[in-house]
């Protein structure tokens, strides 16, 4: 059962990068640019091909186009890739933005072009591998591999403070990911114990296995995973690397960083944190949702205070990713789906905004809002496209941003009305800072002489923004296929968390407070007669300390109201 399509998608950019390496320096930039763009386009076409063949019916296997080849048999690691709805949507987003960022670099990058395009393609391969890997070790390999090209992209082609920004980015991310490696090892050895001494890094096997983590191990391992992903997303206390990295990166770097790299964090949470640790996810959900809300509001207020366009967009990113986290940890069908969709929307809108900022920076070599004004007069195409992208980012109905944020807010409302209210302020603030930016840059008098001579967008530049606008409208007006694509993942998350919450009901039906004493007595009984009574107590099989978690959950279990699904506009 091996399908090589995904392998081709992952490694086409990598192979292409090696081909570019062979182009002699004397050949000039034209061949390089054409080659890089051609490769990215080819990869996009391949992923669209995969999307067309993707089977959405509920009977279809969860992961499709699976390829599995033994990689390090001694450790039970394999080259195992597969595609589900979530990874398909992210692969499409990655390849879409990769094409645009290569196209946008044609005039922006004049230095060391060869290395630049090679690194860009390597980054693309790394990200695609991260989204498609179904083996923990392979995932970790790709996860770290995408760091290195980006480290060079920011450090070589960035603006003034690039070295500081790239080191900060790298060290921040490494702290998280190395702790995740410890987490992976803990999961591996628990999986080994559960699997009769045969260790495996295989995701599907580990997600299915009963890892039997005791409550403190589960919590710490969960945190080890979560920290890596939270730094990437970024969830608020861990976000400080982001404004620097975004601001200093070259345009394509910012686009890929915001559009794709941040999604690997969310992807990791959905793929690993929640399925491996549903209990802990459920208990920590209120806290994480709260962090999401803090991110929404903090990001919005900070964006409001920025004078640098790129920093403004970077903080808006923090705010928008807060919606994703809130949506996920609301653990409510619509919110989760909205959160996942918001993730795609953020990639398109924020990626688009970074492209817009890049275009004007290339012309004026400044990003300060105060240096602009009245650009709508002489850069009409640019103004029109940028306004649409900004509107899509702030969540205007009819454009993509609205659908995701609306679903998140509706879903969050069903959990706690004040979650929705607080998140709603984020939407309003988002409108404020983005419209302030639009107003300062495009409207008002065209009073600066440097701005009067600026030329409008060329055909190529329009071509980089047009697909963004088209996608914004497409998702905004007809989100159904995308929601359908993410349906299975969101339902899976809910199911995973709900089974945990249902479990204590089955086990401890008669347990009433004071629970501790009775529960302990029962456990004691169980352990003394364990061998003979095991069959009669099917749900009590996990170890004693495993049961303790369940009892805690049953005490603090929040209620999840089920309401009819909300019609999508």
């Amino acid at each position: 059962m091996t399908n090589w399509l995904l392998t081709l998608i992952i490694f086409l950019p990598l192979a292409g990068a090696l081909l570019l390496l062979a182009i002699p320096r004397t050949a000039g930039g034209g061949a390089l640019r054409a080659g890089a763009l051609g490769l990215a386009l080819a990869d996009l076409l391949l992923s669209v091909g995969a999307a067309l063949q993707f089977d959405l019916s509920p009977a279809a296997p969860e992961f499709q186009f699976v390829a599995k080849v033994s990689w390090i048999p001694e450790w039970g690691a394999s080259y195992h890739v597969g595609l589900d709805g979530l990874s398909l949507s992210l692969v499409l987003l990655t390849n879409f933005l990769a094409v645009l960022s290569i196209l946008s670099s044609f005039s922006a990058i004049r230095q060391r072009e060869k290395e630049y395009y090679i690194l860009l393609l390597l980054l693309q391969s790394g990200v695609l591998g991260t989204f498609l890997a179904l083996d923990l070790l392979l995932f970790y390999l790709f996860w770290e591999l995408m760091l290195i090209p980006l480290y060079f992209l920011i450090g070589i082609w960035g603006s003034e403070n690039r070295v500081y920004a790239t080191m900060k980015f790298l060290v921040y991310t490494l702290v998280g990911s190395l702790l995740m490696l410890v987490g992976i090892l803990v999961v591996y050895f628990h999986g080994k114990a559960a699997n009769a001494g045969v260790g495996t890094f295989d995701y599907l096997a580990l997600a299915r296995a009963d890892l039997r983590l005791d409550s403190s191990t589960a919590l710490w391992t969960f945190l080890a995973f979560l920290l890596a992903f939270a730094i990437k997303v970024p969830v608020v206390p861990f976000h400080t690397w982001l404004p620097d990295a975004h601001t200093e990166a070259p345009t394509a770097g910012s686009v890929l960083l915001a559009g794709i790299l941040l999604k690997t964090g969310v992807y990791g949470i959905v793929r690993f944190c929640i399925p491996f640790f549903p209990e802990v996810s459920a208990t920590t959900a209120p806290l994480l949702a709260a962090l999401g809300i803090v991110g929404i509001i903090y990001g919005a207020f900070t964006a409001l205070a920025q004078t640098d366009m790129k920093r403004l967009v970077a903080y808006s990113s923090v705010s928008h990713m807060g919606f994703v986290i809130l949506g996920l940890f609301a653990f409510q069908e619509q919110a989760v789906r909205g959160g996942l969709l918001q993730m795609l929307n953020h990639g398109i809108s924020t990626g688009g905004l970074f492209l817009c900022v890049g275009l004007i920076y290339e012309r004026r070599h400044t990003r300060r809002l105060a240096d602009f004004g009245g650009l709508a007069v002489n850069m009409r195409r640019y103004a029109a496209l940028t306004v649409i992208v900004a509107l899509s980012s702030l969540g205007l109905p009819g454009l993509n941003g609205f659908v995701g944020e609306f679903l998140v807010i509706v879903g969050a409302f069903q959990r706690h009305w004040y979650w929705a209210a607080l998140a709603g302020t984020g939407v309003i603030l988002g409108a404020v800072y983005l419209l302030v930016m639009v107003q300062r840059v495009f409207f008002g008098p065209l009073d600066k002489p440097e701005n009067r001579v600026l030329s409008d967008l060329s055909f190529r530049e329009v071509l980089t923004l047009l697909p963004v606008v088209a996608m914004a409208f497409a998702i905004g007006l007809y989100p159904k296929p995308w929601l359908k694509l993410l349906e299975r993942n969101s339902a899976g998350i809910i199911a995973k968390v709900q089974t945990v919450q249902d479990r204590p009901r089955e086990v401890l039906v008669e347990v009433t407070p004071p629970l501790e004493e009775k529960h302990l007595a029962r456990m004691f009984e169980f352990t003394t007669h364990s061998h003979s009574d095991r069959e009669s107590l099917p749900q009590m099989q996990p170890k004693a300390n495993g049961d303790k978690i369940i009892s805690q959950i049953s005490l603090t279990r929040p209620t999840y109201p089920t309401r009819p699904t909300c019609p999508i506009p």
Binding site: W75, L137, E144, L145, I156, V163, L178, L185, V186
Partner: protein
């Protein structure tokens, strides 16, 4: 009818081959009119390869010789191969420094071979005298090699410092061995010491063994540059010729670690109740502290170094800390010995490869490249191949996936997690994250800073790199990547060799 050949004692063969090559080089040099560095290099390589071949083909696992004083156990036998292979790489990356600094080539390569011989013997010694003699053989060779650049004050300082501190640590070692000799009731064989640990006859024996292990551990802590016995490392590395620093950084640590494991192996099988609690707990505690201190101090101090070899010296201190986690896991007899040994060997191989890569590039760049980090500014433009080799070595030292360094860390930390040393592993990975800062700062200089006219001018050696040096760097870089992407090739090699 059969011809009866004189039987060859194969267990001696590799060691004798190395010694003969070394002596042969010095003798042959007497008959040469002009210095012949390339020839001595080739002869040295030949000797190392011959010794390696003898080990692979003729010495099976577990053979012992010299009345049990030497045993080719799994760890030691493969350790010898690692040291011989590392020796080959270091001979290769000596090509340029020897030619450029006009070092006395014959003496240099002969001494290098003798040091490698000492290290090889060290990793198969199962007897206290043999261990001590090997250690001294290495030390004496390194004194001379470190000070081989006559008139170089840093070199003389390095030699002097190494001499004083090595003599000092040898004192600890000998005293420790004397106590162990007493504890084992008059035997220097590790097997007999294990027996004494196993069934101590009197409380006096218990005390002797405890004191012996503690003092010997201190002696080894010097050799392995464990904090707080690390202070000489940075000065010695900085002053010694770069390939010699590489020997100290990579090979001497590999051999020292293997010898330490052999020495402490009696503690692994302790069954006696009192000894169990006293020894194993004391020693795991002690090793834990050594490991934690080395990781923290090594990484922290490396952050502020301005000279490349000093930075690499502190980085090896941190790596000693990581390796010590392996020793800790080894002492835990719930973990299977073969798995721990494989993990330690994998880490050692990666460690040797990446250190040879980093030191090899520094050696290729000449005095400036062995000095301040600023010199690396713009190296990616001046010599892209060297910059790439350095980048691979540094990424591997950091432990980024798809390099051998990652595979080493993964295998080692996996065993440590399995044995329950999670706190130490967390400390180690945090240390690795910090280390990214100082390793990749070199990469920042190479790729993200432009070379100033000053640094270009300091490129004393603009001539194309010598073939030997080139081969050495290509081999170490290629192996770092190959073992990183396909770790099973490394595991396979360990299995068949």
């Amino acid at each position: 009818m059969t011809v009866s050949w004189p039987t060859i004692e194969w267990t001696w063969a590799p060691l004798v081959l190395l010694a003969l090559t070394a002596v042969g080089i010095v003798m042959a040099d007497l008959f040469m009119r002009a210095p012949r560095p390339a020839l001595w290099m080739q002869l040295g390589l030949l000797g190392l390869l011959a010794a390696g071949t003898a080990v692979v083909l003729k010495i099976p696992d577990g053979v012992s010789a010299f009345n049990q004083a030497v045993r080719y156990d799994g760890l030691g036998r493969l350790g010898v191969l690692v040291i011989l292979a590392g020796g080959c790489l270091i001979v290769l990356i000596s090509h340029r420094p020897v030619r450029r600094d006009e070092l006395p080539a014959a003496e240099y390569f002969a001494l290098l071979l003798l040091v490698v011989l000492g290290l090889a013997t060290l990793s198969i010694s199962f007897e206290l005298m043999a261990i001590f003699l090997s250690v001294e053989m290495v030390s004496v060779g390194v004194y001379i090699l470190a000070g081989l650049r006559r008139g170089d004050t840093r070199g003389s300082e390095a030699a002097m410092k190494y001499f004083v501190l090595a003599a000092f640590s040898a004192g600890f070692l000998v005293l420790g061995f004397a106590f162990l000799y007493g504890g084992a009731e008059g035997s220097t064989l590790l097997g007999r010491i294990a027996l004494a640990v196993h069934r101590p006859s009197t409380p006096f024996t218990v005390g002797c063994v405890l004191a012996g292990f503690a003092l010997a551990l201190t002696g080894f802590a010097f050799k392995l540059t464990l904090v707080p016995f690390h202070l000489y490392a940075a000065d010695v590395f900085d002053g010694a010729p770069t390939p010699v620093a590489a020997v100290l950084a990579a090979l001497s640590k590999a051999a020292g670690l293997i010898a330490l494991i052999h020495l402490l192996s009696p503690l692994r099988i302790v069954s006696n109740e009192t000894m169990q609690s006293a020894l194993t707990q004391d020693f795991t505690g002690l090793l834990w502290i050594f490991a934690a201190l080395s990781i923290v101090v090594g990484n922290a101090v490396a952050l502020v170094q301005r000279r490349i070899k000093r930075m690499l010296a502190y980085s090896t201190i941190a790596h000693s800390g990581y390796l010590l986690i392996g020793v800790l896991v080894f002492l835990d007899n719930t973990v299977r010995m073969a798995e721990v040994e494989t993990a330690i060997l994998v880490y050692l191989i990666a460690y040797v490869l990446m250190n040879v890569g980093a030191f090899g590039v520094a050696a290729a760049l000449g005095p400036a490249g062995e000095g301040e980090i600023e010199h690396y500014a713009g190296l990616a433009r001046r010599s892209p191949a060297l910059a790439l080799a350095m980048t691979v070595a540094l990424l591997s030292l950091t432990g980024i996936p798809a390099t051998a360094g990652f595979v080493g860390k993964l295998t080692l930390f996996a065993r440590a997690v399995e044995a329950g040393h999670i706190a130490l592993v967390v400390l180690a990975v945090l240390g690795s994250a910090v280390s990214a800062y100082y390793y990749l700062r070199i990469v920042v200089y190479m790729y993200m800073r432009e070379s100033s006219t000053e640094t270009v001018g300091a490129d004393t050696d603009a001539a194309p790199l010598e073939l030997g040096h080139k081969i050495g760097l290509i081999l170490s870089t290629a192996a770092t990547v190959l073992f990183g992407v396909f770790p099973q090739t490394l595991l396979f090699l360990l299995k068949i060799l």
